[in-house]
């Protein structure tokens, strides 16, 4: 920028580096501004540096909602630190806004005294009007932001200047704006650009001119920090003291996809994935379709029903059929889930939950399909349920759902939700050999002369044999009509029907003998208050309970992963506390099942806003209950 050397030097003397234990940054802009990319790049760089991190992308349902409007604001919140991080953070320390709407939509998220980095070009009269600021009002000019530290940067102008000689058109130049912001944030937190430079080289392999342009703007952002004329702090967030080992960054949907592949590889089965595109589950399909070299067969069906029924066909043939959707799609699959449980064949049904009912809030998170998984079918139709609680746990949750499906010859629900599906965190991943063996043995023909094959004769787990087409002598018929015990022939006998209903229930109950006991995540094994959580509320509960314990409150945290059946000792665990609080992102679903099963007067804490709990909300409730 042509400043004399001594001037820059002077500034360096003024600037200081402040040490922080953890920082929350919220990137916000138009959904076309590349906000998700900026956020995920910073995430990888922070993770590679050794910080613990948790992220939460928050985007509108429309792919390109009207530019400049509040409805079109896309956000990416990330929380990184030199301490253990369990949530994407309640309020943010730094708010990066690409336009006026992004500021208006997110200002309430910013801590008092927090930093705003504002792209001034996004605060022109047109953008202010689109963000519905009153005529003549510009929040950057009217002192309304005086309790914050505001950095105004004309990102658009600097980006265009940096690329003046690039030969790119204005539109293409403007697409690099997010790289400027990323570079500037890298400067603020003293991070290397290497990871993002490598990423850009890979991303634009086929357009070298874009590699060069984006790297140039990324560096311009970084250098701007060095040369800016206002005194500005830099921050240092040291690596977190995490468990030794090798880590990677992982998103929930990606983890689920890898978990499904891992399970089928360990079982020696072909993974057949029948699905229909739906937010927020589609990324599992995208990930799986990249791994055909594992023999994975992905099938984008004509609808949700064909997605699941084709998976049933695949399982009948000896593959592991998996289908995935979100609430509305799961509703369509209901009848077929009933068929799978009558056929007693393995099937995994993934529900990446979103806000409901009906179309609901497609891009927002909610835990409101637990009762659907538990009861949402006709007849007596128990289905085991496994729910993951962090992005990386989706790997183990999906793996475990496959194990139960195969070992117990049953459809199994795997529940995730929009928050952990799109969220990411560091993962100390296992090696393939550390994973349990799920080796499957199909039924063999060892019938003696004159003996008939009994397709519904059960083993010690009450599972029936998996006799696949192609096995000579085991020809048999299955179907959705009630079956005679052992033979599997159609039966309308009243005694037999009652027996079969009870056998199917007993089989699911039996699973409790083959899953781990419930553990206490944090706190004492008995006391005044237990917080019982499930699914993606884990991070907020963990943070809240940890803080409350350090402040002397008698509170513990248990998180249930197996929701049907529950671990055998869950009742005992619950009864070891005076009070039980069940926070859920729904109107009270787990609490109904718990009250029903254990007759305890559990209290609920419910949030139904399409947003995760803040740890503060949970902590306040803890304090209220322990008063």
């Amino acid at each position: 920028m042509g400043k004399p050397f001594y001037f820059t030097l002077t500034l360096h003397l003024i600037m200081k580096t402040e040490i922080k234990t953890d920082v929350v940054i919220l990137f916000a802009g138009d959904s076309g501004d590349g906000i998700q990319l900026t956020g995920s790049q910073f995430t990888t760089t922070a993770a590679l540096y050794g910080n613990d991190i948790s992220t939460f992308p928050n985007f509108p349902a429309e792919i390109r909602a009207p530019q400049g409007t509040i409805a079109g604001v896309s956000g990416f919140q990330l929380h990184f630190g030199s301490v253990e991080i369990f949530t994407a953070g309640d309020a943010c320390d730094v708010l990066v806004v690409m336009n006026a709407a992004a500021l208006k939509a997110n200002l309430k998220q910013l801590k008092s005294g927090g930093i705003i980095i504002a792209n001034t070009d996004g605060f022109d009269p047109k953008n202010l009007k689109l963000a519905k600021y009153p005529d003549g009002v510009n929040p950057l000019k009217d002192n309304s932001l005086e309790k914050y530290i505001v950095h105004e940067i004309d990102v658009t102008k600097i980006t265009r200047t940096a690329l003046a000689d690039s030969g790119l058109g204005t539109k293409e130049m403007d697409r690099s704006k997010n790289m400027f912001v990323l570079g500037y944030i890298y400067w603020m937190y003293n991070r290397s650009l290497d990871n993002s430079i490598e990423f850009l080289k890979e991303q634009f392999k086929k357009r070298p001119e874009l590699i060069e342009a984006n790297i140039k703007v990324l560096k311009a952002g970084f250098n701007y920090g060095d040369t800016v004329e206002t005194p500005m702090n830099r921050y240092e967030v040291k690596p977190a003291p995490v468990e030794k080992g090798t880590y990677r960054s992982i998103m929930g949907n990606q983890a689920a996809a890898i978990g499904l592949i891992a399970a089928t590889q360990k079982a020696g089965l072909t993974l057949y994935y029948g699905t229909y595109p739906i937010t927020p589950a589609s990324d599992i399909l995208h990930e799986l379709s990249k791994h055909k070299n594992f023999g994975v067969k992905t099938f984008q069906a004509e609808d949700e029903i064909a997605a699941i029924t084709s998976a049933i066909g695949a399982s009948f043939g000896g593959s592991l059929g998996v289908t995935a959707s979100s609430g509305p799609g799961i509703a369509l699959k209901g009848e077929a889930i009933g068929l799978a449980l009558m056929l007693e064949i393995p099937l995994v049904i993934v529900n990446v939950q979103r806000g409901g009912p009906s179309t609901g809030l497609p891009t927002k998170t909610e835990q409101s399909d637990l009762l659907q998984a538990m009861y949402g079918r006709n007849g007596e139709s128990p289905v085991p349920i496994v729910a993951s609680y962090t992005p990386s746990d989706c790997f183990y949750g999906a793996f475990e759902a496959c194990r139960l499906a195969i070992e117990f010859m049953t459809p199994v629900f795997f529940l995730s939700d929009g928050y952990i599906a799109n969220g990411s965190e560091p993962w100390k991943f296992p090696t393939a050999t550390e994973l349990p063996d799920l080796k499957v043995s199909f039924a063999k023909n060892d019938l003696k002369e004159g003996e008939h094959f009994l397709p519904y004769k059960r083993n010690e787990k009450l599972a029936r044999p998996w006799a696949i087409p192609g096995t000579k002598g085991l020809e048999h018929r299955v179907g959705g009509i009630e079956k005679e015990n052992e033979t599997g022939n159609i039966s309308y006998d009243p005694e037999n029907h009652e027996l079969m209903v009870k056998l199917r229930q007993a089989k699911v109950d039996k699973i409790a003998d083959y899953i781990p006991l419930q553990t206490i995540d944090n706190g004492k094994s008995e006391g005044k208050l237990l917080i019982l959580g499930w699914g993606s509320t884990y991070g907020s509960i963990k943070t809240a309970v940890r803080e409350a314990i350090s402040e002397g409150y008698d509170v513990s945290h248990a998180h249930v992963k197996y929701l049907n059946p529950f671990p055998k000792n869950l009742g005992e665990v619950l009864k070891s506390y005076d009070k039980v609080l069940i926070p859920e992102m729904n109107n009270g679903q787990l609490i109904k099942i718990i009250r029903d099963k254990y007759f305890i007067d559990a209290k609920g804490l419910n949030k139904i806003k399409g947003m995760p709990f803040s740890s503060e909300e949970i902590k306040n409730k803890i304090i209220e209950l322990l008063k």
Binding site: Q265, T309, P469, G479
Partner: protein, 339 residues
């Protein structure tokens, strides 16, 4: 188990289950023909799978001594798709009715056809809902008086095979329960076709829609109202094979053989999609003015790649280009760091 292969007979395809269709139902004949044809196909029993949906016809798998699944309403086509995608080695037969495949399962049917899985579809068309005791179906002619339509049905019916051809079916044929020889021949042709073989079988429901097809199936009227098509042969029908079909542009016309040269008649070509689309539109009843006879036989066949082959080819290609999947590499991903 004896390792010596003995030749199977129709009896080997009969199960120990009591057949429970109404006495006189057309399904009995179809079951008999299928059981008769099976041994001639040379496929081991354990390699054969019958999959059905819901309806009278869908009881079929219970009566076939093969692998079988009696599934849920309308979904046999989708179940068979998943099975065939993962087990291309199996001989897969879908048994469905006009309600099952054209109404509740209509969507899966058209997608099965465009994907062209190598399976066989036997569509038992009786133009009525039998199992639910007599409501009109999407194949029932306009004005059908049934339990749910005392004043006559008001929805325009599907022409099933025109629908299938519209969905780019690669094998379209029609037969009937009352002509065992013809039905067996068509079943064999369906089995031989690589791709989805669509066979519509006119089937009499003697309880709820008796005689729906009698003008095509009964001795007295069959010859004048039906047209048996054979590849390479002229379209000839009539009491004494004295009538034929001539194409006037794209318009089919009934002519007396006495009045035209045999060379002027429409010669059936199974590979001609345009002509097949005219042929499946022969949908008159004798009550219509200048009715065209109802055709039976194989109307159209086409060689087109099957979905399962393309699916497996991509897997082979992926393994060739990237190497067989390495689970550790997958779990590790591209970027890692060590603490």
């Amino acid at each position: 188990m004896s390792t010596i292969e003995t030749k199977l007979t129709a009896k080997d395809f009969v199960t120990d289950q009591e057949v429970r269709w109404c006495p006189g139902c057309g399904d009995y004949s179809i079951l008999k023909q299928v059981q008769t044809v099976m041994p001639e196909l040379g496929i081991p029993r354990e390699q054969i799978v019958f999959i059905s949906g819901i309806g009278c016809s869908s009881r079929f798998p219970y009566y076939m001594e093969t692998f079988g699944m009696h599934s849920i309403h309308g979904r046999a086509t989708a179940i068979a798709s998943g099975l065939k995608a993962t087990r291309p080695d199996l001989s897969v037969w879908i048994v469905t009715g006009d309600g099952d495949s054209l109404s509740i399962g209509g969507n899966h049917l058209i997608h099965l056809l465009r994907r062209n899985f190598n399976v066989n579809v036997l569509l038992f068309n009786n133009e009525i809902y039998g199992l639910t005791k007599g409501q009109y179906s999407p194949a029932s002619p306009l004005g059908t008086v049934a339990k749910s339509t005392p004043m006559g049905s008001i929805d325009h019916p599907f022409n099933p095979l025109a629908l299938c051809l519209g969905a780019d079916s690669t094998f379209v044929a029609r037969s009937m329960d009352r002509d065992p020889i013809h039905l067996r021949e068509i079943l064999k042709r369906a089995n031989g076709h690589i791709g989805t073989s669509m066979v519509e079988i006119y089937q009499n429901c003697n309880v709820f829609n008796d005689g729906a097809f009698e003008v095509f199936t009964e001795k007295g009227t069959k010859k004048i109202n039906t047209l048996m098509v054979e590849h390479g042969k002229p379209l000839v029908f009539g009491e004494n094979s004295d009538k034929g079909i001539k194409l006037d542009g794209f318009k089919p016309k009934v002519v007396n053989l006495a009045d035209v040269s045999a060379n002027d008649l429409w010669i059936h070509d199974e590979k001609d999609q345009v002509k097949a689309s005219i042929l499946v539109r022969f949908f008159n009843t004798p009550a219509d003015e200048n009715p065209l006879p109802r055709p039976f036989g194989v109307f159209y066949t086409e060689d087109r790649f099957c979905y399962e082959d393309a699916l497996n080819a991509q897997i082979t290609e992926a393994i060739e280009s990237k190497g067989k999947g390495d689970l550790d590499a997958l779990i590790r991903g591209k970027n890692t760091w060590t603490v």
